[in-house]
Point group: C2
Amino acid sequence: MERKLLLLGLLRMHSMHGYLVLEHFESRAAMPITFKKPTVYNMLSKMKADGWVVVREEQEGKRPPRSVYEITEAGEAAFQSLLRDEVGSYTEAEFPSVVSLAFLDLLPRHEAKVLLEQRHAQIEDRLREVNASIGELDMPIHAGSALLPLRYLQRHYMAEMELLEDIIKGLSEIE
Amino acid sequence: MERKLLLLGLLRMHSMHGYLVLEHFESRAAMPITFKKPTVYNMLSKMKADGWVVVREEQEGKRPPRSVYEITEAGEAAFQSLLRDEVGSYTEAEFPSVVSLAFLDLLPRHEAKVLLEQRHAQIEDRLREVNASIGELDMPIHAGSALLPLRYLQRHYMAEMELLEDIIKGLSEIE
DNA sequence: CATACAATAGTCAACATTGACTAGTCACAT
DNA sequence: ATGTGACTAGTCAATGTTGACTATTGTATG
């Protein structure tokens, strides 16, 4: 559902063609979820069937025609209703990465340390990306809720890295 | 993959029949991911095909026979390899719940506040569940890595609640 | 004795997601 | 002129996940 909300939310701001939509969703540039092209087209066609969006063919010069998706009134109504549902209820996140930590003490200390440092470096990279995204946006200072997801990711990555540092420190201490 | 790791990790400790496995996975009692019955049986049958587990029929009294799944040497090898892969690499978590927060400023302040308080209450419930799970385990003080996932969830829920409190406070402030 | 519920084992069809593929235009460098 | 890569629009088959369903036996309750 949150995917639909997000897609509708985008189309609400600007009608757009599929390719542009994809740019928003195929990386975590702005949101803590991703989805791929076939998913987008699939959702778009379902929304079309439901009357939430309409498609306009737009011919610009001799370029191949672009399908521009535009939200309808029914779509706007759906958006409003989804929004309230979603804000008012909490959907669990899954943390696949945490599972393996449960078995950490099966690994020799040294090996565990090396592996956790690898993991740490990867998270650092993600954090850098998010920071870059935030930089690019150069929002006004009081940027509203649109920035929240990115700030959320920032926090999350930092917490994740701290946890790893703690674990690594714990491993290094000779008992 | 982390699902396989987890399943193998369980079977490594005790051979068990499907029903017991399910108890572990259908709630978040011990892990920050869940999966449902058909998924478990599906994985189990794949692992059987791969030679990672074998099934023994166990007849106890006149009860219907129970299929006990037992890890093989190949399964143990797979576990070891998966474990290293997973510890050393970070898999992104998705945060479906955060999406809707991006559109928060479309809602009237008061409504937003009410909805966020609902959400807050739900997270509080989850936290209580996790706390209960930790209590039940009554692990030895130096409980190893097995507790990590639950502690992780604790922290996560608490961070989530703090964030909500901040947002709510921000909404209440009259400008 | 009947009835219901927990323990046990699974299956099946539907749905969501994705990797890999096709296909055409345009701008630019070689 | 030729090739390369970005822009644009999708599709298809495979995979993973799940809701809902079917069965059987044992135990407790009315």
